[in-house]
Structure formats: structure tokens, C-alpha cells
Amino acid sequence: MEKSLKRPALLAALLIALIALPTVADAAGFAALTSLATRVLIYGIAAASLNFVLGYGGMVSFGHAAFFGIGGYTVGILYQHYSLGEPLFGFIPGTNQMLITLPVAVVLSGIMAAIIGALSLRTGGVQFIMITLAFAQMLFFLFVSLKTYGGDDGLIIRRANELPWLNMRDKHTVYYVCLAIAVLFFAVLWRLVNSRFGNVIVGLRQSEKRMAAIGLPAYRYKLVAFIISGMGCGLAGALMANFLRFASPDMMHWTKSGELMIMVILGGVGTLFGPLIGAAVFIVLESVLASWTENWQLGLGLILLFVVLYTQGGVQALGARLVGRSA
């Protein structure tokens, strides 16, 4: 939608900065910045996936943590069966190969999104918000009571998944793997929102009635969008499990859905990179404020309030306006 030439240049600069980040951070003595950035990238993927239905499609899902958790648990459960040497259900062997676990996580969260979406999309508005929440909470309670997989304590993944030729124990490698996947993800997302499919999804947000009147069967398009979005969250969850080397029901609690939503709103609803910026702002704020004071929640709350009341369209819009003014 932006037609200026500034945008590609800006993106290139951002990419270079992200590639240089681990080296710079180490040199400057802020080694932990790399893992902070890894977390931002992963949450950025999750938030951008949510934004595809929420911002572009106008479907306010309050249950996307479910898919995030499914992705994480896929990695965790496959790893557990791999390390114990016991096949899942007696015939599915476990694995620690990322080239297998990530696609499996994406497919499984897609299937879960298909089930939840197929039921939830029969409603709309506030009811849709609540029914997606309901399904996510059901999954949360299910995993809390699954003793085999650690229940509430969560599932420790002793070693991150392996990739051929790469040393996944190295934090920089993990960062670059996440960066590569994020770049790929955002490229695909960019194509997606501008495609014919994206075109009707954005149309559905603006007026479902209009889209029906030009002959669009809305339900199946919304459902596919919901599935795609769930798959993206599942991918992020799988990466997060690899990064934390840990999966827990905490990943699918409603507060996590809320956090993802807040990242989207904070960054800018219905923009490609807004959620990534939102994730960065949220996580950096959380870490920085928490290292300053134990009353960090007060500060975070006030900042969120400020963003809503005094910026229109989140941090990205605020930034664009500030840049526009100074230029």
C-alpha cells in the first residue's frame, strides 16, 4: 500500500541490522540481546499470524495461544518419545530433527485450527472472541492434566532440535535460524496479503455483506484464513519450544492469547510489520522495566494506556507520524 521507495530501503536496512545484531551485541557487551531478539522474532511471527485473521480479516480470535501451544508441544512430545525411545501410540517414532518437527507442528496446528475455526466461525463479533477463548482454555486444561507430558510442570526438552550441518546449541545459530524462518515467513505473508486470497480476506473485513453480494462464499475463505493463521502460530510455538527448550501449558493460557493480541494492537493492526514491532516493544519493555524496578507492571500498564489513548494505530503509526514530521 505504501508506494514510496523508502520502504524497500528501510527493509534492507532492518535486515542488515538484524543480521549484524549478534556480532554487535557481543562486541558491545550485551550478549543477552541476541536471545531477546530471538524471542522478539518468534513472538513477531506469532503476532503477525494472529494479525492475518485479526487485522486483515477482522476475525478477533482470543484463542491463538492454543496453536502456539500445540506447536510447542509437538516439538516437546516428539522429543520426549525420541529421548525415551518409545514410539508415540506405539508406532509413531519420536524425533529431534527440526526439518521434521517444524512441518509436523505446522500441520497439527493447522488441523486444530480447522476444527476450532469450523465451529467458531459460525458465530461472529463478541461471541467469536469468546468461543475461540473457550476452545483454547479447554486445550489448556487438557494439557495441564496430561501427566505423561509433564502436566502443569511442563516438558523439558534437553537439547534443541537438530538441523543438518548446524550447531543448534549455539545461541547465534538459533537466532539466525529463527531470523531466516522469520524472513521467509514475512515474505510469504507479504505475498499472501496481496494475493487474490488476501484481497477477499481484507474485503471480508470491510463488508461481509458486500462480499456475499458479489458472490463470495465467505465461510470457507474465513476458515482457510483461520487455518493459515493457526499454522503460523504453530510454527512460532515450535520455534519457541526449541528456543526455550521447554514447553508448558502456560503457552496456551488465555493470558498468552491476550499478550499476542496486545502485541498486534501495540504495533499496528492490519499492517505487515506492525506485529513484529509490537512484539519488540512489548518484550523489550517487559524486560527493561523488570530490570529497573519490581513495580514494572505499573509502568507497562501506563505505557499501554498511553498508546491507546494518544496514538492512533499503534506504535508503527506513531513512528511514521514522527518520521513524517521530522522529514
Binding site: 465451529l119 458465530t123 468461543i131 473457550a134 493492526v269 507492571q297 500498564g301
Partner: protein, 304 residues
Amino acid sequence: MTLFLEQLLNGVQFGVMLFLLAAGLTLIFGIMGVINLAHGSIYMIGAYAGTWVAAETGSFWLGIPAGLAAAAFAGVVIEFLVVRRLYGRDHLDQVLATFGLILIFNQAITMLFGRQPLFVSMPALLDGSVELLPGLFYPVYRLAIIVVGLLVALGLYLLINKTRVGMLVRAGSTNREMVRALGVDVRLLYTLVFGLGALLAGLAGFMAGPILAVQVGMGEQILITTFVVVVIGGVGSIRGAFFASLILGIVDTSLRAYLPGLLRQIMVGPEADALGAGISSMGIYLLMAIVLLIRPKGLFIRNS
């Protein structure tokens, strides 16, 4: 039989507690179109203020006005400073802003009262149990909660159906434009409704004091359940909130009371208990999902 009656009373008691919270939430939701996540915080404020005053003065009864006043005051302040700017804004903005409020209130309470849960002792009048039927003992305090809850429901019914303010509220929940067109000071009406909702939440919070842990985060724990009630009953419908609260209270209680027993008939004990607990945790969400799939707008809103 007495056990069944006792469980039924338990369900009703849990239901009326939910109703006190849900009534305010559904009004705010239905009339102003605001999703107020901070409703749970108001409940917490009512509980803290009331309990603290009761503990300091040694009188449970003095806690009541304190809790109500603090909650209503907090509600009006929130409305005036924050929510007023959110009318007509996107639901998402409201979610973000009221989430910010939750963080602020939780931290403020921690700074004011510390991290330890507060204690309030039960007044002698409400302590102990009474024998309702032969063999059916029931705690007086819980009976009192039921009575207060039902009185509030009756009061709300009269307010909504018999007064001019109530007429405006009803009109407002179905057609916001019409209320504006009537030349009513909508701002004042909104502030009043918000304050009323906060007052009820504060009442619920204070009454919960002696039976629950008065601690930071107590609001979020019950907030989601309250939203479930509002949605099942139908957004904006007080009547819906009332019946949905009772249904949810009774369903939740009976699932916990009877499901493991039923499952034990068909499977081994411990597994049945775990499965039963698992299903009953999901119970209210399952109920909401089923209700919405059958009646997408909730039980008490006509589908058009």
C-alpha cells in the same frame, strides 16, 4: 436427597456471585459497547477496601460501605479518565487499554497492601451453619450471599423495568442512537451505568472476602468466567445474565459433584477422578461453545 439439595444451593450461591459481576459487565458491554477487562480489578478493589476497613475497625459491617464506595469511586474514575475516551473506538483498543488498567491496579494494590492476602473475620451473626431441613446443614454466610444476590437481582429488575433510568438503559442496550435522539445526557447515563456496574462488582468482591483469598489477581481469576456468563446469557441482557449465572453455577457445581462418580461406574477410580476433573474444568467452556453453536447470540437474545 439432602446432598442433592445442598449441591443445588451451592450452585445457586456460586451463581448469584457470578451474577453480581456479570450484571455490571453485561450492562457496560451492551449499552456502551465497551469490553471492560478491568471489571475484575474493580471487584478486587471492593474486596481489598472492604476487607481492610473491616480488619482495621474490627467491624465487618463497616466494611460494606467502604467496599461499595471504593469500588463505585474507582468505577467512576475509570470511566471519566479512560473509558470515556474509548466509546465508539475499536474493541481492540478497549482490550488494550483495560488490560493496561489491570496491570496498573494489580501493582498499585501490591504497593498499598503488600503481597500477603488480607484477612477478615466473619461477624458472629453470620458464622456457623443452620439446619435447613433435617440433616441439611448450610453455612449462614452462604445463605446470606444467596439472599443478597437475589435481592440485588430483584432491585435491578425493578430499576430496569419500572424507572425512567431503566427505560433508557433498556433502550440503550438495543438502540444507542435512539437514546441520543431522546435528548438524554448520554454521558451522565454512561457514567451512572458504569458506576452501578462497579458498585455491584465491589459488593461481590466484599462478600467474597470471608470465603475466598483476598489477593492480587483475584479479579482475573473470575473475570473470564464472568465473560462466559455474559455471552451465554446474551450481551446486554440483565435477565440473560441472571439465568446464565444460575445455570452456570449449577452446571459447574453438579459437574464437580457428580461427574467423577458417574465416570467411576464405567472406569477405574483414579482415572475417572482425573478425567472427571478435566472435563469439569472445561465444563463452562464446553457449555458456552455448545450454546453459541446452537444460539450464536446467546440464550436470551432473539436471533434475527
